[in-house]
């Protein structure tokens, strides 16, 4: 007998001759929703390069222009990134190195 694990329904049923075993626990795990795209694990690239945060990036992160300016300046100051450094800003606020793909910092960590 073949077993297929699914997580969308509760119970266990025969479906076209295939025994469907339900992983009920997977669907009961609740991931708290946070504000906008800045929630944990959101990994979309919002911006590549540039010395300042674009308006669309600020909007996606839910930051004001003032908050964005403080955060990016503080991050650059902390790491002393060179003037010609062009990283990737992710949907969760992470700054990622364009070549190594290592996370260098997170914008929200620099806001009090």
């Amino acid at each position: 007998m073949m077993f297929l694990v699914v997580s969308s329904t509760a119970g266990a049923n025969d479906f076209y001759g295939v025994r469907v075993v339900v992983a009920a626990k997977a669907s009961t795990t609740i991931i708290p929703r946070t504000v906008g795209a800045a929630s944990k694990g959101f990994s979309k690239v919002l911006q590549t390069g540039g010395h300042t945060l674009n308006n669309s990036t600020l909007k996606a992160l839910g930051l004001t222009k003032g908050q964005g300016k403080i955060a990016i300046e503080a991050l650059k100051q902390d790491l002393r990134l060179p003037a010609n450094f062009h990283g990737k800003i992710m949907g969760n606020g992470d700054l990622v190195h364009p070549h190594t793909n290592q996370v260098l910092g997170n914008l929200f960590d620099y806001l009090n």
Partner: protein
């Protein structure tokens, strides 16, 4: 009459290198850094939970942040000069060596809509002698 505008300022000199450990810079300058980190050091972001990796070595000396009604960074430069003038030869060597980058960061915050800042010849000479670049972060809160 008291000014309604406040200027909060801070200066930091940092030496960045891919190759040289901050402990070696501490030893050569005989000055303890205000902060430092090593290339490859890792931490966890409080916000995203991502693993953060330091991209290079860093050794930094910073003045204390203070509030003033005057638009000046003279006390910060005087502080850096008091510590670094005796080490001028070492810093000049770092500045000329491509394996190091020496930068000065000047952080300015104000509740005014802007800020004017003037550096005299002596201050320019000092900063120019020890650093490859100077960055100004001006944060206005109005």
């Amino acid at each position: 009459m008291d000014s309604e505008f406040i200027y909060t300022t801070q200066c930091e000199l940092a030496i960045v290198s891919d190759e040289f450990d901050p402990a070696l810079i501490t030893e050569e300058l005989n000055i303890e850094p205000a902060r430092s980190f090593k290339k490859g050091e890792q931490s966890i972001s409080k916000h995203s939970g991502s693993l953060i990796t330091k991209p290079h070595n860093l050794w930094a000396l910073k003045s204390n942040s203070f509030e003033s009604e005057e638009e000046t960074i003279k006390p910060h430069i005087d502080y850096l000069k008091s510590l670094l003038l005796p080490k001028l030869d070492v810093l000049k060597r770092y500045k000329l060596d491509e394996r190091f980058e020496v930068s000065v960061w000047i952080w300015l915050e104000t509740n005014n809509s802007g800020m004017g800042l003037e550096l005299d010849e002596e201050q320019l000479d000092f900063l120019g002698a020890i650093s490859n670049r100077i960055h100004f972060s001006l944060i206005t809160k109005k």
